[in-house]
Each structure stands twice: as structure tokens, then as C-alpha cells.
Symmetry: C2
Subunit: 604 residues, 2 copies
């Protein structure tokens, strides 16, 4: 037994396991997509102290090797070691599940008939053959099922022995008109809800019989290496001979790494269905579809409504025939993630008008009710997801998610996810910081950080920063970035409202979504002019609704059909050609806005 | 330019081609399944004279190399050469097509409505996008088609560029509810009818729009290396760890080699559908399905009715999503080949009773009319297909297909397919030889070749032989083999007739099928007691009806459905438990039969 210490202060015992296994055993998940076979090179870590033996070094350069880098899955400690854990980790979180579980529970408790999971278990007694009855095995199976189902060649290959080993008493998992898999008696039927965001990828593991969210895992979308937003990625895909393939590999690897992590934690079932929810470009890149014409006027995608392709088509490491349903898109810039969101908010059912805002790398807006739905998209950038901000991070352990400033005593308080030392700032933390510093006069109306306004403001490396902790600060450039993002979101909302001819008072409920974690202070988001000045109690914060919508599709055939219907029904407004939007955007590049009247009531 | 001579006397010119290409160019087809990339090792030939340069020697052993063996696809002549052409060749024949073409033409001319090919061409004008209409490409395509079709991911990947390159005016090939492929304007839609026999594999290339048979190719089933009949192959599959996989590889390689040959000859279209017809075991081995329980009482196959699997599932070298329809089986020993035969004979439509006999490695029998069909199978062995007979060969060029003997002058005449020097004897030739020699007293009633009965009878290598030419003879063992085969067929027919309670006179038509080539002398087949003593004019010889039935399925959705119906409807008689059959078999081990009365009228 040796001890593994990490640069983050953790200490684990290890018993002959690989470093990867030891880390996994202690819930530290590297983004391994090969399952620990040494063939993806994604578990590269650096040994800071101690000795290890390595079986192979796939993907480790000579220089890295000299620097102490090894593959965690191929290396074994030879004594106590100190490991540097890379930033790029998979986060597994039961915490996030709560908001989603509540939404899911609420929707199904209102109408229990809605619960019709896409995969079902059939418990069958098959008639064994006799001399008088020599029908084929498959004909016996269909007789027991009572209708004609398809079966793959691969399952057909197993059928004869499976029937006999189980003595003609079997369990099969079916979807629609096909057999998806044979089951062991105690084996659970799992499915995956997958949200492919431009910045973040998230996966929820669902027990299809209980209708429960079992686990959630997420990581950054590795495509970030090729560009922060959808446009730069489309350009990369088009302009490089292997561009599309690289982007595809990148996201598929992330997804396989997430699946790998969930399978380590849950070995008692088989994953037999996947619902994918993402913006139009992300879905195109995942499926390897040409995104070129999404970028060119009139912004035409190849697919809005995708056929039901399979795990093997998507190169996803599941049983080849597992169906991958892609939540349909509305247009080139309003994707399945927004359709999922509409499903989760249920605004498509209401009499009164609702507003749905999803703040990701793009900010998408939907306004409407049961009779009509209008949608638009605006490029907010990835800052609220932690990308492009000096100390930005996703809403995971170590992220500052709330901030309050005491002007009198020139001091502040922070709230960190997981109540650990802060290692970065997530979206809700950024909103709090800008709002509190603006209110306290440390940032002016133009967003300028004022030197000498606080003892925490300092000039470091040629830029003004507000220093929060040893590791965390916010810089002038960060603030500019956040203001541009909030301006785009606000201008988008205002433009849509004006285009459909309603004003803020006509909106009965505002549904907010995004990867902010559990918490977003709506009051502060209004104070910086990101959200329209509507009374707080009308706001509902729903977290990642793209993932929630995908879960709803998995658990309800009706809701899956509803998603198709919503995608068809929504009217898309193209803001890129709107003068109104440009005017609103420029006006919103102030704190809270050039027209201070608009924010009068709530800005103290 | 060099000259290539072959051991068979051919002389070809070559212009910088590989030896494989030069042979192919002159219609000599080696069974290459890799398309000439040097990766299958199936084009091994021996250079008898002259020099060649070889790029690689995949699959050629060191000993073979010293003996002059090379890969034809990887080797280029350095001067004039003499090549030894191996026995294992693919035969391409427009000749065989005539019988089949006549049957197909006759069936469709009686009812033109029947002609509904499984793949159709759609000629489409797709609406291009505008600023007002930014729907997805696929939605535009479906609008032009007028209904919802599936599309593969792979085709989805091409869609955007294909639409734009073709300026929104396109041709697609569809089957059922899916798009199978995009087409070039002039590109033809081809399909394959595939007969997997225990001994012979045959492939017909069909123009799906014209409904014409374009070409036919055939070769031996390489599984012969693992056993002559279905039972020995099942045993091999079960008893060897890689048995099933080896058998599967073997037949798939043959099929890919046949496809390869057809594609060399026909480059003007794409193959977009395959109908497979074969006995139950052959279909199981092709699909890699466990054949174990076909051999054990009560002889249960995994599938009688197969799902519509794809080229990729079958490892067939065609576009991955090309559908492979397997003609359904009736039971473990009556397969899709017999259902195909029933389709080709049309006995399922007649008022009067018909008898269908398919003589392959198994002899299958069907009796019935539009109201009922009874079927049985008997193991005849592969001798009529040329296997297990000293100078046996398939009914291809060089085969003796007819033989007549002049007792007076102790001399004979032969007819050879292709009017070349004889290189072997095919099934119809064997029947003629045994019949003529029996009639002339050179073979006695027990099938013994009588020494000194003819100047052509000689004792060679310890066995009595009747010498026909330098290369061709028939031995005592061959005659014994043929008599066992004919006895099994006759006994099978008699047992079925007795079981259904009818006699020979109730039969209005006898349909004969098998790989005998163009010609079978029914009179002689009756004379040796292989066929029941029914007047000649009631016999119809149809050639390979398994292939014809597969063609009919390709060209008619109704007939494909009819095949399913026939397979469901037929009653299977198990001869293996029949005492009647055993008695009949033993009695038929004579020429023509122990009960000579039965053959009185026609035996001179």
C-alpha cells in the first residue's frame, strides 16, 4: 500500500491499482475516453514527487516525459507519490440533480400518464421446441412478445444460446418496434441524457424503470481548443482539411470519457438509449455533418429533425444499436437545447405569456404561450461558463458562486461551491461581483475599474484587477467581457419583445436557464442590466434545461413527440439583420444601461 | 507490351497492367475478394515461365514462393510469361441467364402489375433556400419527396454539398421508407440476386429499372474445405473455437470475390439491394448465426424469417446501408432456396398438383398446389455439382454435359460446354454416363463397372475406371456415389408422395431445378431411377431456381411478400424419422431400382 497525494491536497491509499484507478476510486475523474486501455492519451498527469513504473507512454512527448508526465492508466506507484491533477477533469455531481429531479418529478406528478420511457423491459416465457413444434427460435420469441419486432444480427447471433441458458424464461429491452438488448434478470435499464454545449458537456444517467436521475457528470467541451464559439468552430471545420473530423473526434472523446466515468460508478445496468440535446452547430459537429451553410446567409443547417441514428453512427462507446435521438432544432442558431428548455419550462402549455432565457455561450430567448412561440439567438460568448475570463470556471467545486461587498468596511464575503478554498469564479459569481462592485462605486457606469477605489484594486501585470483571493481576481478585460455578454442578452430579450409587440409587463413568468449551478441572484442580474426589470417573484431559475429536456424525452414518448412539435411550431427571428437589436446592444454596453429609467425600481 | 500465355492455351497481350488486371481484362476471374489490393491472398498463381516483379507476397508461403507462386494483383510481367491458372476460378456466364430470363419474362408478362422493383429512382427538384425560407436541407429534400424517409448519417454527411453541386436537381434511390443512395444522373440502379449453395455460390446482377438480368457469376463455395455437406460444416462450426467465424469468412470472401468480378465488368451503376437465397444452414453461416440446434433434434434454426439486415452486418463489400433480404426458410432442412424455387415454378398458384425437385447438395422436394404445399429434404450429397467425383466439375466451360454410347461399335460421343476440350464432368453428364453405360451393360444393376465390358474400362491406380478423355474418367467409387445420390432423391420423392396420399399419376407437372447447366436429359434421369417414371412431357427443367426466385423478389414487392407467405404456409415432413424413406432408399440403391416394374414403360 502506497499513498497518493495530489497538488490539491487530497491523500488516497492505493493497493496495486493504476494511478488512474486509484484516482477514480476516490472520485477524481480524468477525461479518459478509451476506458483506461492506454489508447486515448487523455489521462496524462505529472508526477511531482516519487517514482512510478509505466507500461506505455502513448501520446506523451519526450519533453513531457522528462518533465514527469505519465499516463495514469498505464502507471503504478513504486512508493508514495505526489500527483499534479490537471485542470481538465470530469465533474460528477449529485448536487446538480436536485433542480432537475424537482422539475422532472413535478411534470410527471401532474400527469402520470406521461411516464412512458422510451425503453421497456419485457419479461417473457418462451415456448421451448418439441418434436411436433420445430419453429425457429426467433419465431418463438416473437410469439412470446405478441408482435413483430426487429432484432440486430449481433443479438441474433446470441439468441439461441441465450434462450437455452435462461431456460426459455428471459428479459428483453425493447424500444419502438425493435429489441435493443437481452437482459440479465437483475440488470437495470439505463439511458443517457446528453447536453452538448459549446463550452460544457453534461450527461445524466437515468434509471428508465424508476424514472430517476441516478448521476450527472460534466466536463468542458474539448472543442474549445479550436475556438470559443460556434462561428470560430465552423470556420475551423471548413478551412482545415481535417477540421470537421478533429472537432467530431474531440466531442466524441469527451462524451465517451463521461460515459466511461458513469460506467465506473454504475455497473448494475446497461445504457440502452441516448437523447442528445445541443445547439444546431454542436449537433452537426457531433454527427460529423457539414456545418458550412449554417454560417452563410440564410444560415441553413443540414438537419433540424434528425433520423434516429445509432451509437455506432455516433462513435459512442455503447452497444452499437443503441438509439441516439437528437432533440430537433428550430434553425441554424436555435437548437435542440432550446426546444428541450421549452419542454422543461412548459411555456408551450400555458395560457399566459412566458419568457425563457437560456444563457450559455449563446443566449437564446423564447417568448410565447400555448398558441405561439417566437425565438431568437444572440452571441453572449462563453464567459458565464467560465471561458475567456482570467479566473473563470464552471459551476463546480471551488467556484465562487456568490459575492457581496461591504462598502463601509471595504471588505467582502464569498460563497464557494463545496465550501472549499476558491479556485475560480463561475457565472453567477461574476454577475454578483460586477453588480456589487458597480453598486459600491468600484466600477463606474462604463464598466471601468477605478484605481484606489478599494484596497483590493491593484495594477498587476499591466492591468487593473480586483483581487479576491490568492488565486482569484477579476480584471478590467474580464469586466468588459461580462458587460458585452450581458448587453447581448438584454438587447436580444428587448428586441424579441418589441418584435412580437409586447412589453415586460405582459410577461407572467421568466424562466432562466444556464450552467450557473444551483444559484443565480436575479436581483443582481437585473442590477447589471442583463435581465429586464421585471419583479423578482416572476423569475424561476431552472439550471441546465437542455439536460432536463433530454431527460423528459427519455422518460416520455409523448414529450419526445412534443419536442418535434415545438421545433416545428416555433418562429425564428433573425437578430443578425435587426437594426433594433444593434441599437439596443450599444445602449446596453453600460451599467446597467444608457437609459437608467428602465432599471429605476430595482436599482437601489 | 508482353504476352501472357496460360496453361490452358490462352494468349493475352498486356500493357503495363498487373497480371490480375490482364487476366480480368480477358475474362479470366480469380476469386479476389479484396478488389486487388493485395490483402486477401486469393489471386495466388504460379509463374511457369518468364519473370515478374512483385510488390508484395501477402499469404504466399516461402515454399510457394520458391515454387513460383506470386500474387497476380501485386505482380507485373518483365517479359513474356506462362501462367498456371488455378482450378478455383469465378465463372461469368451470360449463357445461364437465358433460362432465368425466360422465367422472369414469362412471370412478369402474365401480370405487368407484379413489376415493382424493391429500389426506385426519384427524380427531384428541391426548393433552394432563401432569406425568407431557411429550413434545413433535409426538410427541403423531404418536401420534394412528399413523405418522410430515413437517411443514414453517412448520406446526411454528403447531403448539403450534393444538393448544391447538383443545383437542387437530384436523383435519389429509395427502398421502402428510406433513402438508400444519392445517384448521378446517368447512374444505373443495380441489385444482386445471390444463391448460396452448399457447393456452389451464384450471383446475378440485375438492372432494377429495366428488370433485366445483366450478368451471372458463380464459383465454388470455399466452405467445401471444411466439409462437403451441411452436417459436417455444422459440426466444424460447433467443435472449433473459430469454426463459425472461419465458415463465415469463407463464404463472405466468395461473395465479395463474385461482387468484385461483376463490378469490374459493370461500372455504370451502383448495387443497392441484395436478395439472398440459400438453405437454412448456409444462411446461418453467412450471417454468423449459431447453427448448432439445426443439427440436434428437433432441428431448430435461429431464424426462418430474417430481419432486413444490411451489407455492413453481412460484411459484404457494398455501401454499408444496402439492404440484404434473406428469402425465408421453412425449417432446418428446407431453406429459402426452396421457397425461391416455389416462387419460380409458380406451383403455389396452380389448381393442379405440381412436384418441384431441387437437386443440389441436398435434394429438396415440394408437392402441392394453390391450397397446400408439403416439403421434405434428403441428403443427396454434392456429386451432381461436381464435388466428390474424381473428374467432377460445375456446369461451366469444359464440362461434359452429355454423353451417348454406341454399344455396337464400343464408342461414344460427348457434348462439352463451350465446345472446348473436356476438363471434367458436370451433373447432367454424370447422369448420362451412368444411364448409357448401364443400358449398354458396362455397369450392372448393382452399379458395378464390369471389367472387359468395353475397351474404355481399365484398372488404373487400383480402381476400375471408364476412360473418356486424357483428363476425364469415371471410377467405380464415382458411380457408387452417384447411385447413392440418385437413390436418396428418388426415395425422398416417393416418400413425400405416399405421405400426402397421391401417386405419380396425380402430378400434372414436374419442375426440376439444380446446377446442371442448360441441359438435363430427363429420360436418362428416369432410366437410372433418380426421377419417378412420369411421362417426359410433364417435366420442365428450370436450372438454378434459387437464383431465379431471388431475382423475382428483387423485381417485385408482391413476390417478395409471397415468399414470406409460402415459407409460412409450407408443411415440413421430416424424412429422418421415416421408416418408409429408409426402405425406399435401400430399394433404390440399384439401377434403376429393385422393383423394375416401376420403371417399365420408359426403360427401353
Amino acid at each position: 500500500m502506497f499513498k497518493i497525494r495530489t497538488n490539491r491536497g487530497e491523500v488516497f491509499d492505493t493497493y496495486g491499482q493504476s494511478i488512474l484507478e486509484a484516482l477514480q476510486h476516490n472520485n477524481v475523474y480524468l477525461p479518459v475516453s478509451c476506458g483506461g486501455k492506454g489508447s486515448c492519451g487523455r489521462c496524462k498527469v505529472r508526477i511531482l514527487e516519487g517514482k512510478v513504473t509505466s507500461r506505455s507512454y502513448f501520446g506523451v512527448t519526450e519533453i513531457e516525459k522528462k518533465d514527469g508526465y505519465i499516463l495514469a492508466c498505464q502507471s503504478y506507484p513504486e512508493g508514495d507519490i505526489l500527483v499534479e491533477i490537471p485542470q481538465k477533469l470530469i465533474t460528477v455531481s449529485e448536487r446538480i440533480s436536485k433542480v432537475k429531479a424537482d422539475i422532472v418529478r413535478k411534470i410527471f406528478s401532474k400527469n402520470v400518464q406521461l411516464f412512458q420511457p422510451l425503453v421497456k423491459r419485457l419479461n417473457l416465457s418462451v415456448t421451448p421446441p418439441t418434436i411436433e413444434d420445430s419453429r425457429a427460435d426467433f419465431d418463438r420469441l416473437l410469439e412470446a412478445i405478441g408482435r413483430k419486432l426487429k432484432i440486430t444480427r449481433k443479438d441474433g447471433e446470441q439468441l439461441a444460446d441465450y434462450l437455452r441458458q435462461k431456460r426459455w424464461s428471459i428479459n428483453v429491452a425493447t424500444q419502438d418496434d425493435e429489441i435493443i438488448s437481452f437482459l440479465e434478470t437483475e440488470e437495470k435499464i439505463y439511458a443517457l441524457a446528453l447536453d452538448i454545449g459549446t463550452t460544457t458537456v453534461a450527461l445524466a444517467l437515468i434509471d428508465m424503470e424508476k424514472g430517476e436521475i441516478i448521476d450527472v457528470a460534466s466536463c468542458y467541451n474539448s472543442q474549445i481548443a479550436y475556438g470559443d464559439d460556434v462561428i470560430t468552430r465552423i470556420v475551423y471545420a471548413i478551412e482545415n482539411p481535417k477540421g470537421l473530423e478533429n472537432l467530431r473526434k474531440s466531442i466524441v472523446n469527451d462524451i465517451n470519457a463521461l460515459i466511461n466515468t458513469l460506467l465506473i460508478r454504475h455497473k448494475d445496468g446497461e445504457i440502452l438509449y441516448v437523447v442528445i440535446s445541443g445547439n444546431t452547430t454542436m449537433c452537426h459537429l457531433f454527427w460529423g455533418l457539414n456545418p458550412k451553410y449554417i454560417r452563410e446567409e440564410p444560415y441553413v443547417p443540414v438537419f433540424n429533425h434528425y433520423p434516429l441514428w445509432r451509437a455506432s453512427d455516433g462513435r459512442v462507446n455503447l452497444k452499437n444499436n443503441v438509439p441516439l435521438f437528437t432533440v430537433p432544432s428550430v434553425a441554424g442558431y436555435v437548437g435542440g437545447d432550446i426546444v428541450s428548455g421549452v419542454l422543461a419550462t412548459e411555456i408551450y402549455k400555458d395560457e399566459e405569456i412566458g419568457l425563457f432565457i437560456d444563457i450559455g455561450t449563446n443566449g437564446e430567448i423564447v417568448v410565447g404561450n400555448k398558441d405561439w412561440l417566437v425565438t431568437a439567438s444572440t452571441s453572449a460568448g462563453p464567459c458565464f461558463e467560465g471561458s475567456g475570463i482570467s479566473c473563470g470556471m464552471r459551476a463546480t467545486e471551488g467556484a465562487i458562486e456568490a459575492f457581496s461587498f461591504d462598502r463601509e468596511r471595504d471588505t467582502f464575503e464569498i460563497k464557494v461551491i463545496g465550501e472549499v478554498d476558491p479556485i475560480g469564479i463561475c457565472g453567477s459569481g461574476m454577475i454578483d461581483i460586477v453588480s456589487e462592485l458597480f453598486k459600491s462605486g468600484i466600477i463606474d457606469q462604463k464598466g471601468r475599474l477605478l484605481q484606489d477605489s478599494s484596497r483590493y484594486v491593484d495594477l498587476v501585470e499591466g492591468e487593473l484587477r480586483f483581487l479576491i483571493s490568492e488565486n482569484c481576481y477579476i480584471s478590467q478585460a474580464d469586466i468588459d467581457n461580462i458587460i458585452r455578454a450581458k448587453a447581448a442578452i438584454y438587447a436580444g430579450i428587448l428586441t424579441v419583445l418589441q418584435e412580437v409587440g409586447i412589453n415586460e409587463n405582459d410577461i407572467s413568468k421568466v424562466y432562466l436557464a444556464g450552467g450557473f449551478g444551483e444559484f443565480l441572484d436575479v436581483k443582481k442580474a437585473i442590477q447589471i442590466g442583463m435581465l429586464p426589470n421585471i419583479s423578482y417573484e416572476r423569475f424561476v431559475f431552472l439550471g441546465n434545461t437542455s439536460l432536463t429536456g433530454a431527460i423528459l424525452c427519455l422518460l416520455s414518448r409523448d414529450l419526445k413527440n412534443k419536442a418535434e412539435e415545438i421545433a416545428h411550431k416555433m418562429t425564428y427571428l433573425d437578430l443578425s439583420r435587426s437594426k433594433l437589436f444593434m441599437d439596443e446592444y450599444v445602449s446596453a454596453l453600460f451599467l446597467p444601461h444608457t437609459d437608467i429609467e428602465r432599471f429605476k425600481i430595482h436599482s437601489d
